[in-house]
Amino acid sequence: MTSNIVEIDNLSFGYKGRLLHKNINMVFPRGKVVAIMGGSGSGKTTLLRLIGGQIKPTKGQVRIGDKVVHEQDRDGIYQLRRTMGMLFQHGALFTDLSVYDNVAFPMRELTDLPESMIRDLVLMKLNAVGLRGAHQLMPAELSGGMARRVALARAVALDPNIIMYDEPFAGLDPISMGVICDLIRSLNDALGATSIIVSHDVKETFLIADYVYFVADGEVAAEGTPHDLMQSTLPFVHQFVHGEKDGPVPFHYPALNYQDELLKRT
């Protein structure tokens, strides 16, 4: 049996003839935390949607275990998704349900567990993210960091094999960021799961990732361990990792000649 739980082979994806991804190859080994990094609009989240089977590739394939995701029918996709958990960028908590009911939601919908057992499991999951005491609150009463932690508890409610994180650090204060960082690593190791993190936060991602892919212009621009990438001399990686404002990714959006444009006004 292959040690990779998810494999992306020669994947291309695009809309209306314009390719967003070109011949992407990635592997996600069991038990590892793998990050996909790149600038805004580089199609990182789209890769998660391709892995989750929400969209189909134009060419190539995503395999989970021995199953090709886009070849599955609706039931097949749902079977695969039962082994996945996903943390959305803003949590995507159900606003009409309490914290408790949000975490209980996948258990009630997908299992026949009795309510007494669901209660124990929900409290255990909430305890793992430090929010057992907040179980009666509504999502509107939570801070951004707390909402992200509740969403994390909901994502791991059914002990998934694969956990996907879409920008888990975006918009969080430093304390919440540290908490989420720790939780991603510890939940991954405790569940023996594989984590796929999509992020552009270099410091936090490098702290917990075992392996990192850099995506730029629709291709894998670089890959390696965080340590390797920190030392990388590739211009794009160097610019991204060190947060330089100009480089292969230009500061200016393509525009007419500045002087010509100003003179045209007069």
């Binding site: 959305f88 159900f94 939601f105 996948p106």
Partner: protein, 270 residues
């Protein structure tokens, strides 16, 4: 001259392209709406197996609409009583006021005004809720949990609307008759017995009440599926949800009035 022709042709071409694009968009939306309707029927099992999901939505769409329906019905009934009496007394048949009020309400005003109020009160709420669920990725989260949003979110709301509408329309007619009675009998002084007996003699169960119920069920299906589709199809932005909510009221109102004409024609002919 040649230049004017080419400008004219390009403007006409642009106009035709715009008309064509809008037509294609309308037809596409009609098809997508029909597809959502069929999928909703297909995935309706859960709405009945776990009826508490539908009951919860009946509370939000039906019970929460009660106040506006009852108050509106009361005023509509009173106005009918006043206007009806004003006209009927010219022909010396003011005792027929009970029949006039009852038939107007049961056949037309009950189902139609209820549907229009329902579109404004519950339809907009459904569209805004589903649109916001989409905007905040709640529907995607459900999909990723292997929970079908059509079965879990759309179908219970659909059946809640379909069940609530005939009950609300029946309540509208009942309260409207009461409003008409209050104006005609205690205030104007029409004979109490004549008011009720003429109504009893002239309102037919099959031709009037059943047809009214059929209309309200059809309007319930139309208004609810329009509200659900607009929410489901709304672009995931604040502006998108706002436009979708407006479209729900406009499209539902026009659909109800159009369907009312079609249904009435069939009911009168058959």
């Amino acid at each position: 001259m040649h230049n004017i022709h080419s400008i004219l042709f390009s403007k006409i071409g642009k106009l035709l392209r715009n008309i064509g694009r809008r037509m294609i968009e309308r037809v596409w939306r009609l098809g997508a709406g029909a597809r959502l309707f069929f999928l909703t029927i297909l995935y309706s099992g859960e709405s009945f197996r776990r009826f508490h999901l539908t009951l919860r939505e009946i509370y939000f769409t039906g019970v929460m609409s009660l106040l506006i329906i009852i108050v509106s019905a009361f005023f509509v009934g009173m106005v009918l009583g006043l206007q009806g009496y004003n006209t009927l007394q010219k022909y010396g048949s003011s005792e027929a006021i009970g029949v006039l009020v009852a038939l107007s309400l049961v056949r037309e005003l009950g189902p139609v005004v209820t549907a229009l109020l329902f579109a404004g009160r519950a339809g907009t709420a459904i569209t805004a809720e589903i649109g916001l669920m989409k905007t905040t990725e709640q529907l995607s989260a459900m999909e990723m949990m292997a929970v079908n949003p059509i079965a879990r979110v759309v179908a219970p709301r659909f059946w809640a609307g379909v069940i609530s509408m005939p009950i609300l329309a029946a309540l509208f007619s009942m309260v409207g008759v009461l409003g008409g009675y209050l104006v005609a009998v205690p205030i104007i002084g029409v004979d109490d017995g004549a008011f009720w007996s003429q109504m009893q003699a002239n309102v037919d169960v099959r031709d009037d009440i059943v047809n009214g119920v059929i209309k309200s069920v059809v309007f319930g299906v139309a208004c609810t599926i329009i509200a659900l589709f607009e929410g489901f199809d709304a672009p995931p932005t604040a502006e998108g949800v706002s436009h979708a909510t407006t479209r729900t009221v406009v499209i539902s109102s026009l659909t109800v009035l159009g369907l009312d004409f079609v249904l009435t024609s069939f009911m009168i002919v058959v």
